[in-house]
Amino acid sequence: MTAPAAIARSPRRLAIAPALLPWCGLGVLTVLCLLLKTELPWLVNFPKQWTLPLASYINAVTDAVVAVIQPGFRALSALLDAPMRGARLALAWLPWPAVMLAVAALALKSSGERLAIFALATLAYILLAGYWPQSMNTLALVLLAVPISTVLGFLLGVLGYARPRLRPVLNGALDLMQTVPAFAYLIPLLLLFGFGPVVGLIASAIYATPPTVRNTMLGLDRVPAAISEAGLMSGCTRRQQFWQVEVPTALPQLLVGFNQTTMAALSMVIVAAIIGGFEDIGWEVLSSMRKAEFGQSILSGLVIALLAILIDRLTIGFAKPPETGPTRAMRWMTPRRLVLSLAVALALAIVIRLVAPGATFLPETALRTEMGGVNQWLLGIVRDYAWFFDGVRNTVLYCLLLPMRVGISGAATPAIWGFALSPTMAAVYFVLVLAVAGLAMRRFGAREALVVLAAGVILYTGFLGLPWPDFILAVALLAGQVAGYRLGLFALAGFALILVNGLWPQLVQSLYLCTLAVLLCLLIGGSLGVWAAHSDRVSRILKPICDALQTMPQFVFLIPALMFFKVGEFTALIAIMLYAIVPPIRYVEHGLRHVRADVVEAVEQMGATPLQTLLQAKLPLALPVVMLGLNQTIMAALSMLAIAALVGTRDLGQAVYVALGKADAGMGLIAGLSIAFLAILADRLIQAAVARSTAA
């Protein structure tokens, strides 16, 4: 906070110095650390004997606390068990023709005949593929988790709206709920509620509540002043004002929240299968992946994907009517007809059950039982084209992953790159880095030169070889300068916590994996975004793909990655990228398409080539939007870490996953909080940077 003030007050040349001074100090420190690295190995590897057994303290406390409060939670678990059984039985009782009729009617009301057809096709596919009962079990959990989250989220949202002073606390809690990976709190939940599907339900409810809270606050905040004043001037009492003016006006936003909550619940119900299957679709995917039955993986993964898209379109249809107004089919499906259709569906179900009480009407031979040949065939393909897939993997591994991890100094060995790094080569490298930095300094400024230097150092030592005091100080300094000293302290505290818990290596692994994934996503997604911004056809093609990728529960991305590239870091990278690539595409396209037209015209008028216009006018103007996209990408990558641990990584996600396996609540929580810390730090940092760049 002090830096900008200083810049504002004094002339420019002098002004940069105070902000840069700490960086010069840091540079000296870096050089020192790098020189002393071999003598003082603790600079790179945080020694084990310095760590604190915080996790075991937490475990001791939780064990004691759990023993006391467990009966209450077990009772709650039993309480929730009844409606859950009820929901399952009800969905199992409903014959599929009745379900299809009801869902088609809802789809018709929500978005018209195209969605209705899609709904019928999806349900028919689930039926034919042989995953009907499993899908219904998953839906039963979602159907229970969503009302819990919605009611809870609405109440919390109203609280935050009515008591703005509680906002900071509430927002902090929501951030944690959304960024701590669910695996981390599955353990305490398991301890409290006991083993069973209730845990999945509760985890889903926790994860799915924040969107409703946020959208409730947003919607109520955004009720136009004129509308609430009109309500007051009509003589509304407080209650009338809330229920008849504010809530209906905020309803579209509340429905958006409902949509997001539903999707989050679905995603988490599927992920919760990790603690053991309850004959739900998530378990089908997981077990078929473990058995390397790729045919079944694909079939069941497709079920999840289609279900997700269906539920998404269904719920969003109610929130946002099409811009061109409701279609004929939507108008035809009046509320009365909708109720009538649902009643008919119910009557149909009752009749069917009366006539044939025990029949399931499920097809005898489903696709899933016919997959043996397909599995062979898929395995054959992967085997036959192993040269290709392995080639891709090894190329990326040796050219990107390894240099990022162990650095040029580590990778340039006869075993990996076929030659050893001689002192002359190292010297040449550093001279080159310095030259580029100097160039950046002259062309852009000191900050850019600093970035080049930092990248040069990281590329040389690799993430693993980076001295930790150096790294922590650099991030804290950056946070302090961009977003104020409080974020700097937050960064220091967070990294210190990770350090003393002995999670530094995992943190570094996470950082390197995420950085790489984010950079690649920015590069690939950004290019696609630029292309889409300049070509309507590309935009049209990319849109449904992005939509589908974004609705997909995270789990699904593991399937193709695992199928082609087997277990390993590269597979995790692919899965993370699949999940995190949408925001750069979307935000870059949006940013470029909404750049102020008059500025672009002025630049073109000056005779700029299209490339110059893009690089010198459009991209800089779109930068704030692109930064928001970057933020989303980082959030997506970090949230995928825990899931990607399933395909073998060595990062914080893996630490959470291992803790889950060992029922080590303390370690799970700490590792989970570490991921949340990274996410929150990155988020605040980028938002502050965006705020500064738009304010300037």
């Binding site: 136009p224 509308i227 009109a230 009509s234 003589g235 509304c236 009492t237 209906p248």
Partner: protein
């Protein structure tokens, strides 16, 4: 000056509204009189924002009282103080002689349900209700039966000329139509006091003109007591019986349109009103002099005829007019010389520029 007007409906005495950290701190000492300008200066210096500074005026029953000022001058805040959508920091507001600021929450709701109506610049229509339901909304809030409130709402919709659009939703209407709905809604409960906060500012100029005519027609029928906010000086002079000019929270002048153009209180007002054509703003009644027993000319014109409309008759050689007095007042005399004096003054204003 108010002799010709009815009894006082609304009186506003030394009303202040201050935004900031501790506005109450400055108004603790009741009765302690301090120069308003000095206090406003001090407030500004101490990081407070005096949005309304010591506003005092009275509005007579059946009068159109226009408050005019540039955007940010505190008009909306002032009118919201009058309806207590915003709580004034200090001052007194009397509605029919009763202290509005002392009204409890319940009483306030009752007042709003029956005695006040308000129209907003951005319409403030409920997006989820049809035109009919929007207009019937205040009645629904009062718990009136469906039949009764729909009948009343239809009546209001007819009044503003929107028949046939009852089942449309606000977003399907044009801006002008939406504001008609807002007007119908604010009139549905039959309030005597009618607040309009820049009701036509969001509309295109052509529609605005049409809505102003419509508004005058309604007022001739309904005879409400009206507080009308605008930043458009032409609109203000067109509609006002009397008008108040605000600047930086302070009312700098109150008067009839002619008073203001003829005797601007300060340079600011003079500059502000400089483009208003005197001949159009000033009416025969404004400059007619008492006859004092002299013989009255046979040519008679209404007191609210603008001087502009008299020019053709003057040109054809008429030397003087009789202006009949309002109510019991005796008729007055308007000589051609008086009109020509105004014309000369206008000429002088034009050449000074």
């Amino acid at each position: 000056m108010n002799a010709a007007l009815g009894p006082i409906k609304l009186a506003c005495r030394n009303v202040w509204k201050v935004y900031g950290r501790r506005p109450a701190y400055y108004f603790d000492s009741r009765g302690y009189v301090i120069d308003p300008d000095a206090l406003a200066e001090r407030l500004r210096a101490e990081a407070h924002l005096p949005a309304v500074v010591d506003a005092s005026f009275e509005v007579a029953t059946g009068e159109i009282f226009v408050i005019m000022g540039l955007s940010g001058s505190g008009k909306s805040t002032l009118v919201r103080c009058l309806s207590r959508l915003v709580e004034p920091s200090a001052g007194e507001i009397l509605l029919d002689g009763k202290n509005l600021l002392a009204a409890s929450g319940k009483e306030l709701i009752e007042l709003r349900r029956h005695a006040m109506g308000m129209v907003f610049q951005n319409f403030g229509l409920l997006p989820h209700l049809t035109v009919l339901d929007n207009v019937a909304f205040p009645l629904k809030i009062q718990g009136k039966p469906v039949k009764e409130r729909e009948a009343r709402a239809r009546e209001m919709i007819a009044l503003v000329g929107l028949e046939g659009r009852e089942v449309s939703f606000p977003h399907q209407l044009s801006g002008g139509q939406q504001q008609r709905v807002g007007i119908a809604r604010s009139l549905a409960v039959g309030p005597e006091l009618w607040f309009l906060d820049e009701p036509f500012s969001a509309l295109d100029p052509l529609i605005r003109k049409q809505m102003q005519d419509e508004f005058l027609r309604l007022q001739r029928m309904l005879k409400k007591t009206i507080i009308f906010i605008t930043h458009d000086i032409a609109e203000a002079f067109r509609l006002a019986d009397r008008l108040a000019i605000m600047r930086a929270g302070k009312i700098v002048q109150i008067g009839r349109p002619a008073d203001i153009v003829l005797n601007p209180a300060d340079d600011y007002v003079a500059q502000f009103t400089e483009d208003m054509p005197l001949l159009r703003v000033i009416t025969a009644g404004d400059i007619a002099t008492p006859a004092n027993g002299a013989a009255l000319p046979e040519r008679t014109i209404a007191a609210d005829t603008s001087l502009e409309a008299l020019i053709p008759q003057l040109a054809s050689g008429v030397g003087a007019f009789t202006v009949p007095g309002l109510g019991d007042n005796p008729p007055a005399l308007l000589s051609a010389g008086a009109v020509l004096a105004v014309l000369e003054r206008e000429q002088a204003r034009r050449t000074r520029e």
